[in-house]
Structure formats: structure tokens, C-alpha cells
């Protein structure tokens, strides 16, 4: 079976940080003041977005509880191969791009519910006639203690998703205002 290990088939099991690593994280965080900016890098999203494709971390709530007391805390995660961003309490979440394999947004699968962040303005729908489209990479700027993701998207317009101090959440610097969005960003 040449497919990503989905949780709707026998190939998959959900991501989990696990008790041991959570204990390590707690001990590490206990060493620093709550005002210290924290940046966590994780393969899995540390959120529960869509279980079917493992956009998911089974013990996300427990991990978030460890991060929640910090004033400036940011999670940068992979796995999803697409632009995503979210704000849960004080925790900001930003995804990174992949240099291979476009992946659809869960809202394009009609048979299952998902909990994708309403904050996220999706990428343009992938155009298969451009083989690098829907892949990319990014500069990650953390000098303020908050994250600015400067996405370099092959064969497509670049985008920036950056912390907005006025609203207290990550936002796309161009498309966050619904009036500025463009038809290719609609996924269905």
C-alpha cells in the first residue's frame, strides 16, 4: 500500500509525545522564567487538527498545558506539507513547508470532519502541471520572541505569516483580511 499511514486504515497509529518526553519537556521548561520566549520545534502539530491523515498529536492537550504558562510561546511544526497557523491561548502555532509532495487540506475530504484552524488562510490549490507547485521552504524569524514565517513557494507568490502584536496572533500579512483573498485559496 503506497499511501501515507492513515488512521482510517491498519497502517497507522497516531503521533504521541508520550509521558517520558513530556517529563523531559517539563523539567527543561522549569529551568526558565515564564517571561522567557520559548520556541518548540516538533514534527507533529501538537494540536488535534484532523485525525484521518495524522494532522494530530494524541496527547496535545497535555503538551499545551506545559507550554501555556509562558508569555511568549511558539510551536513550529512539520508533517502537514502546507501553510497552517493557529493560536490556542498564549501558544502560537506555525507550520513549515516541505520540498516534496503537496498534500491536500483536510477540508477537501468530504467524508470526515476536521478541526482545521479558522485562522489559517490556505495556500493556493496545487497546480499539478507545475511539479514544484505547492512545495517550498521558509525563513523563520524569531528575533522578537514571536515567529515570522517567510515562505518561499516555488512557481507561486511568496507569503509571510507573522505574529501581529495588535491582535495577538499569527496572521498572513496580505491575505488575513477576507477582502484580499483570491479564488485559488478556496479548497473544497
Amino acid at each position: 500500500m503506497m499511501e501515507m499511514a492513515g488512521l482510517d486504515n491498519p497502517n497507522g497509529s497516531p503521533f504521541m509525545v508520550g509521558e517520558k518526553q513530556r517529563a523531559w519537556l517539563k523539567a527543561d521548561l522549569d529551568k526558565v522564567a515564564k517571561s522567557t520566549p520559548v520556541v518548540v520545534f516538533s514534527h507533529s502539530p501538537l494540536q488535534k487538527l484532523y485525525k484521518g491523515w495524522n494532522f494530530w498529536t494524541e496527547d496535545a492537550e497535555e503538551v499545551q498545558a506545559l507550554l501555556a504558562p509562558f508569555e511568549k510561546v511558539n510551536v513550529i511544526y512539520g508533517h502537514v506539507h502546507q501553510i497552517q497557523y493557529n493560536q490556542i491561548g498564549k501558544i502560537a502555532f506555525n507550520s513549515v513547508m516541505a520540498t516534496a509532495w503537496p498534500w491536500p487540506y483536510p477540508q477537501s475530504y468530504a467524508q470526515a470532519q476536521n478541526a482545521m484552524p479558522v485562522l489559517t488562510v490556505p495556500m493556493n490549490r496545487a497546480n499539478p502541471f507545475f511539479e514544484r507547485d505547492a512545495t517550498g521552504w521558509q525563513f523563520i524569524d524569531v528575533h522578537t520572541g514571536r515567529v515570522a514565517m517567510k515562505y518561499n513557494l516555488y512557481d507561486n507568490s511568496n507569503r509571510t505569516v507573522a505574529w501581529n502584536p495588535a491582535t495577538g496572533r499569527p496572521e498572513d500579512t496580505v491575505f488575513q483580511d477576507a477582502a484580499n483573498r483570491i479564488p485559488p485559496q478556496a479548497h473544497y
Binding site: 500500500m1 503506497m2 499511501e3 501515507m4 492513515g6 482510517d8 484521518g52 491523515w53 509532495w101 503537496p102 498534500w103 491536500p104 483536510p106 477537501s108 475530504y109 468530504a110 467524508q111 490549490r125 496545487a126 497546480n127 499539478p128 502541471f129 511539479e131 479548497h187 473544497y188
Partner: protein, 135 residues
Amino acid sequence: MKTNLAVVLAAAGAVALGTIAIRADEFSAKDQERWTKEYMSVVQKGRELWTSSALGTNNVACAQCHPNAANTHPETYPKFQKQLGRVIALREMINWCLQQPLEGKPLALDDPRMVALEAYITYERRGVPLAPGKH
């Protein structure tokens, strides 16, 4: 002679059918059950093809870009495929994918494997209203 034979066979057929009281518009819940089972076996065949490298030459499978056949929009076909510059059927787009990302050969449009792929794609999209021509 041929005509007579046909008449005789038709009559024999009518007698045979008459004995089990089948009319053209009659079918039972059991029939429906069987037809659904037949259909689902083709959907399953489609899923197997979708998740295998059998249709290509480069070890790539449809499911690697389209998990659960997502992002295929079967309800929008036939539609103007902007990259090809004309209105096409879903099967032509399937063949495009077989030839490009999978580096395989196109299937005949009535190939049972093509029917199976389409059965799987549309099954995963069931319940979504038709939107022909939508991009």
C-alpha cells in the same frame, strides 16, 4: 428460418421468465443488495489501484498526492481544464496523471481499471452536490 428460430427462442424465454414472474421493472431488496456488493467490489478494486504503483513506472501512487482521493473534484467534471485549454472528462485528467506524475501509459477510457478508479474517486466524494464546470 433465422426469424422463426428467434421467435421460438423468444417464446421459450417468455415461458421461462413467466414461471418466476419477473417483469422488466421488478427488483427486490436482495437484488439491490447484490448490486451494491458488486459496486463496492469495484470501488475496492479502485482503492487498491489508487494506493499501488501498478499503473505507473516510477513507484508513485495516486494516493501520495490524493489521500482518500481528496482534491480530485469529480463533481466538477466535465469542465474546462485550464492547463489543457479545453473541456475534458474526469477520465482524461486521470490519464494525464497516469502519464505525468506516475510516468505510466494511459488507460482506454472503458478499461475496467479506469472504471474502478472512477468508482473509487466518486465514492470518496459521495454526498457532494454536482458542480459541473466549477474550477
